[in-house]
Symmetry: D3
Subunit: 129 residues, 6 copies
């Protein structure tokens, strides 16, 4: 696949790269964005969405990164596991936290299969929520 470097990027793409580096306080743009840059509208739209969704809010940014890793492991996306694990570490995730996260993700995948396989009906108490 093509990765569009900063040097070869159009002004439109460079503006996104600049915003990524400034928002994240980093001096390089990771491959995901260099790859999306072959399609500038998708690059821009995806970055705007990720920036909005991952900003501090009711959940803190580290928790959001942990959620991202959990989904990426469940989907088996190697790139996404690597990049969001790195982001989570930058935001303070410890080895112990990563280990617990993976233990929870493992159990959730197991009990999802058990609930589905046994066809467990949703409790009335949960429906009222």
């Amino acid at each position: 696949m093509a990765l569009i470097s900063y040097e070869e990027a159009s002004p439109e793409v460079r503006a996104v790269y600049d915003d990524i580096m400034e928002t994240r306080q980093v001096d390089r743009v990771n491959n995901f964005w260099l790859g999306l840059a072959v399609d500038p509208p998708t690059l821009r739209r995806t970055w705007e969405s990720v920036k909005e969704v991952m900003a501090p809010g009711a959940l803190d940014p580290l928790v959001k990164e942990l959620l991202y890793v959990a989904v990426s492991v469940t989907n088996g996306c190697e790139y996404c596991i690597a990049s969001h694990t790195a982001s989570a570490r930058k935001k303070g995730m410890t080895d112990e936290q990563l280990a617990e996260l993976l233990a929870v993700v493992g159990m959730a995948n197991e009990t999802n299969a058990l609930a589905t396989g046994y066809g467990v009906p949703v409790d009335e108490a949960f429906r009222r929520d």
Copy 2:
């Protein structure tokens, strides 16, 4: 499917039900466990694992519930979404936190597909982590 009520449960199954209610400080056992009770060894083993994994540790119990919901949404497990959303609410999850969680899970599923579809190679910087 069969759900084994407390009344009809064997002493072995009741011991698990009792531990669930005591550990969680609740007065009823939700359907997932009533369903697993048709296979007492799986009931006991799964409960022991869930109890250990979901206990407070390097991650707090609410964060663990949020991770559980994120995996369950990604797998499309209706029962698991309902039960772990209810558990997360009991541990203090607000509507705003749930909304942000779902926004992150949505974005993660989108960018997982984009990274996979574009075949983005993992950055050397992430491999060194």
Copy 3:
């Protein structure tokens, strides 16, 4: 969705229904096939494939049904879990066997997530296989 009953079916579709009932020694055709009948070429092709793949061979038919249930649980296909669990019971599956199957499927989904999350490299010994 439309379900095409035997009475309203074309001769081409009826021929498939007749073969399903004769091959399986049953006197009704289950909804999956009644649904596919809106597209007779897919009905015929799918039935021919299922008949060939599920026939006795190096694996016995009950083991093949168990594998079908395991995949269906992993994919969360409610219809497929129901229909292949029923088929497996007709071929002799006991409650104990179903419980063990679901326990294995649960564990496999858990350890799949752990192997993926930890990024475990394949052992050289396995590659030589």
Copy 4:
């Protein structure tokens, strides 16, 4: 990722490694466990569960390995496919059996998609099961 060798392992981890080698009658521990060893409680808990679930019971151990491979293929877990295919071969799986297993897994994934896509309602006869 880190793989914890026997030599560098703590006594707690070595005890699990020893039990794996003795239970399976092998003289090395495969990478999955060496990877989990960074989190000793998850290593111990996962091994205890796998040992219990994969032991002979109502289903024979080879059938359990076949089910494990079927789930792993469906989830696209390369490590798990490699390791459980190797385990299945050790327990006697022939090339013909593997080929039939993959044919069933392929068909199950196809018909899962067809049942879901057509929205086929579960037959009353299956619900009564």
Copy 5:
């Protein structure tokens, strides 16, 4: 879950509903958007993204709806199958086209599993693409 009707919606949410109805030339907003409205920023962001992505471009809008149905079937999302099948019909999809789409989706899920299960290496000729 809560569905926010037009009457009870805030001006910010109504503005999105109005744009959905005008863009699609319809006089009601479907439940997906009424559900997302509990989180107005996600409602607005998701709608802006869907509007941009589904607009006519290098692929025509009907083909985009067909792709949406294919992904939704593969993920087993009942709501999404129903809503995008309805959208595709409005854009001219015939019964024959839907049947062929589902046949392709079924085969793709089968051969994905076979390629994964056999561990087929990517052809050099494809890598050069």
Copy 6:
């Protein structure tokens, strides 16, 4: 894994290889079929099905390849993404079309997760379809 070359193939397998090359007007058989050839009945059956399903019909062959890519991305099947992207290019897919396809697949995976996570009920208007 084993790949069965034309030279070492049995007459039964060669007949399939010949039909693949003639049908597709190519002078080599890609690895997927060379891999399936260890199991000639699966090779033959799968090829016959793919040939039938991917033939021109109510949907044109390029649209069918695009659907194949969409499913393969959603399942994370690297081989299938590579081979069907190459097939789509041969049938005329442009870079712009591929970029739009991936944008749709990304959005569909996101909104599938949102619809599932919010538990959106299917609109009555869609059920009547």
